[in-house]
């Protein structure tokens, strides 16, 4: 019942099925629609319960290490260190969120933080001229210094450009923090990270959601370590 035509020739349509130009996608029959609504609701309930469970799992496994890591971050900030965050895709959005959370916080101290994914001119220049795997490492090599903090995000733990940047950061004597998912992938095998937080889920979406909690909690605990408590907690 699909009105779709065969994908056009070329590499991109082979990746994704595209609706043919000018053609609309067939609407479902009414009974299908009711079944879809029930399935969609059930799926939303399951996913919501899953991320609640996953957050508690992370809290229990990594709680103490999160507190310790935030303490180390606070020490770096207090000594003039800056935070650099980087990731790909959704991770790049997270990197920007990390940067703005520290730089323009809801409350507390504004701390220097930069997302290495924010400058599209720099990112595409490095990708085009040097290679995508160098896109964050090169920026750290230029901007970073001993005493800074590097935070790399990869849901799979296998993003080469994130791994290369963490290596560069470690080489420079920066505090290195990795956020990964599932088993931690290659990031877990690096063996040079000061802190590695692995979200134990095979769903990239749930991993990203729990990673958001991890970096927000790191932010909150960093503020606490610098003497700022959340509003209403004294």
């Amino acid at each position: 019942m699909s009105t779709l035509e065969d994908p056009a020739a070329g590499a991109v349509p082979a990746l994704y099925p595209f609706p043919a130009p000018g053609r609309r996608i067939a609407a479902p029959a009414r009974s299908d629609s009711a079944a879809a609504l029930a399935e969609a609701r059930r799926s939303a309930e399951e996913k919501a319960a899953e991320i609640v469970r996953l957050r508690w799992q992370v809290a229990e496994v990594a709680g103490d290490e999160l507190a310790e890591c935030a303490q180390e971050m606070a020490i770096r900030f207090a000594a003039g260190g800056r935070l650099f965050a980087f990731g790909n895709g959704g991770g790049s959005a997270d990197a920007q969120q990390v940067a703005t959370a520290f730089l323009h916080p809801a409350y507390g101290l504004s701390l220097p933080a930069l997302s290495l994914t924010g400058d599209v001119a720099v990112v595409t220049a490095l990708s085009n001229d040097v290679g995508f795997e160098a896109v964050f490492a090169r920026q750290l090599a230029t901007l970073g210094r001993r005493g800074d903090i590097a935070l790399g995000l990869s849901t799979s733990g296998g993003s080469f450009n994130v791994l290369r940047a963490l290596e560069e950061a470690a080489h420079q004597g920066m505090l290195t923090i990795g956020l990964a998912g599932d088993q931690g992938g290659r990031m877990a095998g690096l063996g040079l990270l000061d802190y590695l937080f692995v979200i134990p889920s095979s769903s990239a979406h749930r991993v990203q959601e729990a990673q958001a909690t991890v970096y927000h909690v790191l932010w909150e605990l960093t503020q606490r370590a610098l003497g700022v408590n959340p509003p209403g907690t004294g």
């Binding site: 019942m1 699909s2 779709l4 299908d32 879809a36 399935e39 919501a48 103490d64 959601e209």
Partner: protein, 205 residues
């Protein structure tokens, strides 16, 4: 779920603050599903998703755009989505000349086709430019969806969204985290409605 007694108290408190809003999302499942049913119908008509928000909500806009444009599951259909907060030149340009309140509405007017959808993201529902973007989209016949927090702010009061999904928390960090889950659900459930429409093309599953 109890916090283990050995856990650092500040860590336990931080995670506990996320628990209620996370659980409350499950109770909103029907509301989310209904929004996605209408979104799927718009995509079927050839509509695109136009997303906008300020600060960290702008990163959510970029994130959900990536979900639709480049599905995490190979073979899923790519769907058209555009984040208006990404273009710093235009956002700061419009803000400088016409004012921040027009930053998204201006772009919506240029980009919107009647079959489109507008998704405005604001953690407290009080971002004037997000409201203006949604209002403008509504006037142009777009489906309007708002992600907010707390009481939904004036987004709820002014009734500018066909679908209002408000996270039950006043903590902006917690609202953001649940928004990330909501963005993932919007993508996933739109595809559920596509699947139920029958085969959606070669390679789809």
């Amino acid at each position: 779920m109890p916090v283990t007694s050995t856990m650092h108290p500040a860590v336990g408190a931080a995670f506990l603050r996320r628990d209620r809003a996370g659980r409350a999302l499950a109770a909103d499942a029907e509301r989310v599903a209904l929004a996605c049913r209408e979104m799927a119908s718009r995509f079927r008509r050839g509509g695109k998703l136009i997303v906008f928000g300020n600060g960290g909500c702008g990163t959510d806009a970029a994130h959900i755009t990536a979900e639709f444009m480049h599905p995490v599951i190979v073979g899923r259909r790519t769907l058209p989505a555009l984040a208006l907060s990404n273009d710093c030149a235009t956002v700061t340009g419009v803000s400088g000349r016409e004012g921040l309140a027009e930053a998204f509405a201006h772009q919506v007017r240029r980009w919107a086709d009647p079959a489109d959808m507008a998704l405005g993201i604001s953690r407290d529902g009080r971002c004037e430019n997000v409201l203006r973007g949604l209002e403008t989209a509504g006037e142009l016949g777009l489906l309007t969806v708002a992600l907010t927090g707390g009481d939904g702010g004036i987004t709820a009061g002014r009734g500018v969204a066909d679908h209002l999904l408000a996270v039950d928390s006043d903590d902006p960090a917690v609202v953001k985290e649940v928004h990330v889950t909501l963005c993932h659900l919007l993508w996933e459930l739109v595809h559920v409605f596509f699947e139920k429409a029958g085969p959606v093309g070669e390679g789809a599953r």
